[in-house]
């Protein structure tokens, strides 16, 4: 029997390092960036120097030589303190670098990966359009081959990391033709920032993730070399979906971090805050809320460990990733609600971390596949409705 979820020495050391970095570097500054709706470029660069953006990528491409699980562990520790920072890393690696690492040509890997892994450059991934996210197959953006160049036209919505000072590319999905069965042929194409006709819109005004960069993108006769195709023509959609499967494990780890941060803050506050002459933590009602929060966070952690373990062993993990993503995002939302409750009125004040947790939790049930999409995937994997 093999049943061992202890971390090895190196992964434990990584966890400690990221925890210290999150507490000492991120915690004191992030509130101000969040309030100002500002992207914390300097913090992101420092994360790059620590090798976080290259975690799952081998050293030969400039990566750190870890694996996808080490990325998840780092995300959990960051999100325990702040989710904007964590999603910047998550999107930068799992959506920015991984498609190129998994499906790129040797030349594309050589050109982009070293800078992406070092955190000197950020990559974004543009799938969602204003007209459809869950139904990604409804893509309207088009790309046609003309004189050895792709000519891209269309727009993308809600694209993370697409307009920061560090952003150097967006990989977009576009319709490149018609499949033999009459369906849309969707492919993925790298569009470097600054290409004429590629316009990066203003930052959205968001409920949460305010120190993360999210923008609308538009493409008008944007010309890029034919070699910018990532992966196989017509397989863009399928390849994207596999990238999203991995990404769900990463989002689950991020949700677990947020949920654990809720526990951390609540334990502290319950001991400090007094009401009716004693710390509020003396009340069983508060104790039980915190106990339930801990139960959810630790259960969700097991779910993402399991999904990651299957992925690293090369076994199918689509269902496990969907389970981890669904459960952890919904329980993160619960924990954020409870943690805010434990904090009373202060929990509604932006200067308290739990207020950020509350605002940041909701998107976890929407991004990289809504809860409904996860349920669809899980039901489908059980053969329901087939």
């Amino acid at each position: 029997m093999v049943l061992d979820y202890r971390l090895d020495t190196e992964t434990e050391a990584l966890r400690t390092m990221v925890r210290e970095f999150a507490n000492e570097v991120v915690r004191p500054q992030i509130g101000a960036f969040y309030e100002a709706d500002e992207f914390p470029t300097a913090i992101v660069r420092q994360m790059g120097e620590l090798g976080l953006f290259g975690l799952p990528i081998p050293e030969e491409y400039g990566g750190s030589g870890g694996d996808y699980f080490t990325l998840c562990v780092a995300l959990e520790e960051l999100a325990r303190v702040d989710s904007s920072i964590a999603i910047t890393l998550e999107a930068g690696v799992s959506l920015g670098a991984m498609p190129i690492f998994r499906f790129g040509t040797p030349a594309q890997k050589k050109e982009w990966l070293p800078r992406l892994c070092a955190g000197e450059a950020l990559g974004a991934f543009g799938l969602t359009e204003a007209g459809g996210g869950s139904d990604a197959g409804s893509t309207r953006t088009t790309a046609r081959l003309e004189d050895g160049q792709w000519v891209v036209n269309g727009s993308k919505a809600f694209i993370t990391n697409s307009g920061t000072d560090l952003t150097e590319l967006v990989t977009v999905t576009a319709v490149t033709g018609t499949r033999p069965d009459g369906g849309k042929e969707i492919s993925a194409i790298i569009v470097p920032s600054g290409t004429p006709g590629f316009v990066v819109g203003q930052r959205y005004s968001k409920v949460g993730w305010n120190a993360s960069d999210t923008r609308e993108l538009s493409f008008t006769d944007v010309r890029v070399p034919a070699e910018n195709l990532v992966g196989d023509r017509g397989r863009g959609y399928a390849q994207f979906l596999s990238i999203l499967d991995e990404g769900r494990i990463a989002i689950a780890a991020l949700a677990v971090g947020l949920a654990q941060g809720c526990v951390d803050e609540s334990v502290k506050y319950a001991a400090e805050r007094e009401a009716f002459g004693s710390p509020i933590g003396r009340n069983q009602a508060i104790q039980f809320m915190i106990a339930d929060m801990e139960v959810r966070a630790s259960t969700a952690r097991l779910a993402y460990y399991r999904a990651a373990e299957r992925m690293l062993r090369g076994e199918p993990f689509k269902r496990e990733a969907a389970i981890a993503k669904l459960y952890s995002s919904e329980m993160a939302m619960e924990n954020a609600r409870y943690a805010t409750q434990v904090h009373g009125g202060y929990g509604f004040m932006n200067e308290f971390p739990v207020a950020r947790f509350y605002r940041d939790a909701k998107i976890l049930e929407i991004g990289e596949g809504t809860s409904e999409v996860q349920r669809m995937l899980i039901a489908r994997s059980l053969g329901v409705g087939a």
Binding site: E10, A13, L50, L55, E59, S64, G65
Partner: protein
């Protein structure tokens, strides 16, 4: 320049720390053990000197088997190799005995510069570098807030309450550092992975030629006879403003050496 950094593993000063009631020694086995905070600055300084002068950084630790965690962290920050002195007989040693062990280990190494923290957060005797300087017959530049290396000349700004002293010595020498000297780096993930492959040599007292009877609780120069918990926080001082509130406040802060 060959540098040896002295690194001690201590119970985390941010957590509740205990003495073992059976022999009044620091309870290490049950504690959350970390690198002594000041030693991280010593490691950073050693790495900075190495980056400008070349050479090698060796970590030297005297402590139980679990101290390998502290060693690994130092290696993951960028030190090249380590010597770990571990021997049951050392348990309960006083500062004087520990200094004999460290001195013996240093004598088996080639060094131009020894860097250590100015104090540990558990023993807090703050005498280790002075004891070593005496035993090894090398200059001791204590309490550094700044270190400059120029060939074999070391210049140190020694931090004091009112300012600093300018000190100078030739290598080999020992320098102890305060937390004002630099900002320790975080180990990168590559550093963490690389640490796995770096050599760590474990030595016993016999390897060092130290007689086990000269160290340990039984022959320690000082012994803890009794201990008590810190008394709960007092009431504090209440300053009532009678037009001179500010003066009284400043007077209080000054009396506590806070300003």
């Amino acid at each position: 320049m060959n540098i040896v950094v002295l690194v001690k593993q201590v119970p985390d000063s941010g957590t509740e720390r205990q003495l073992d009631s059976s022999d009044n020694t620091v309870a290490r086995a049950s504690a959350d053990n970390v690198i002594n905070e000041m030693d991280e600055y010593a490691i950073e300084e050693a790495l900075t000197v190495k980056e400008s002068q070349g050479g090698e950084v060796t970590v030297l630790t005297v402590g139980p088997d679990g101290a390998t965690d502290a060693i690994r962290k130092a290696l993951s920050m960028g030190a090249d190799k380590a010597v770990h002195v571990s021997d049951e007989a050392i348990h309960g040693s006083c500062a004087v005995q520990t200094s004999a062990v460290i001195a013996a280990a240093l004598s088996q190494l080639e060094y131009d510069l020894v860097i250590c923290g100015a104090e540990s957060t558990d023993g807090r005797v703050s005498v280790m570098p002075a004891l070593l300087s005496e035993r090894l017959g090398i200059p001791h530049l204590s309490g550094a807030r700044k270190l400059t290396v120029d060939g074999s000349t070391l210049k140190v700004e020694r931090q004091t309450d009112g300012g600093f002293w300018a000190l100078e010595a030739q290598t080999p020498a020992i320098v102890s550092t305060w937390d004002t000297i630099n900002e320790p780096r975080y180990p990168s993930f590559k550093g963490i992975m690389a640490a796995k492959k770096k050599p760590v040599e474990t030595k016993s007292l016999a390897d060092l030629g130290v007689d086990a009877g000269t160290v340990g609780l039984a022959t320690a120069t000082s012994q803890v006879l009794d201990f008590a918990g810190r008394p709960p926080k007092g009431e504090g001082v209440k300053v009532t403003d009678e037009g001179d509130g500010a003066e009284k406040l400043v007077g209080f802060l000054a009396s506590q050496k806070l300003v």
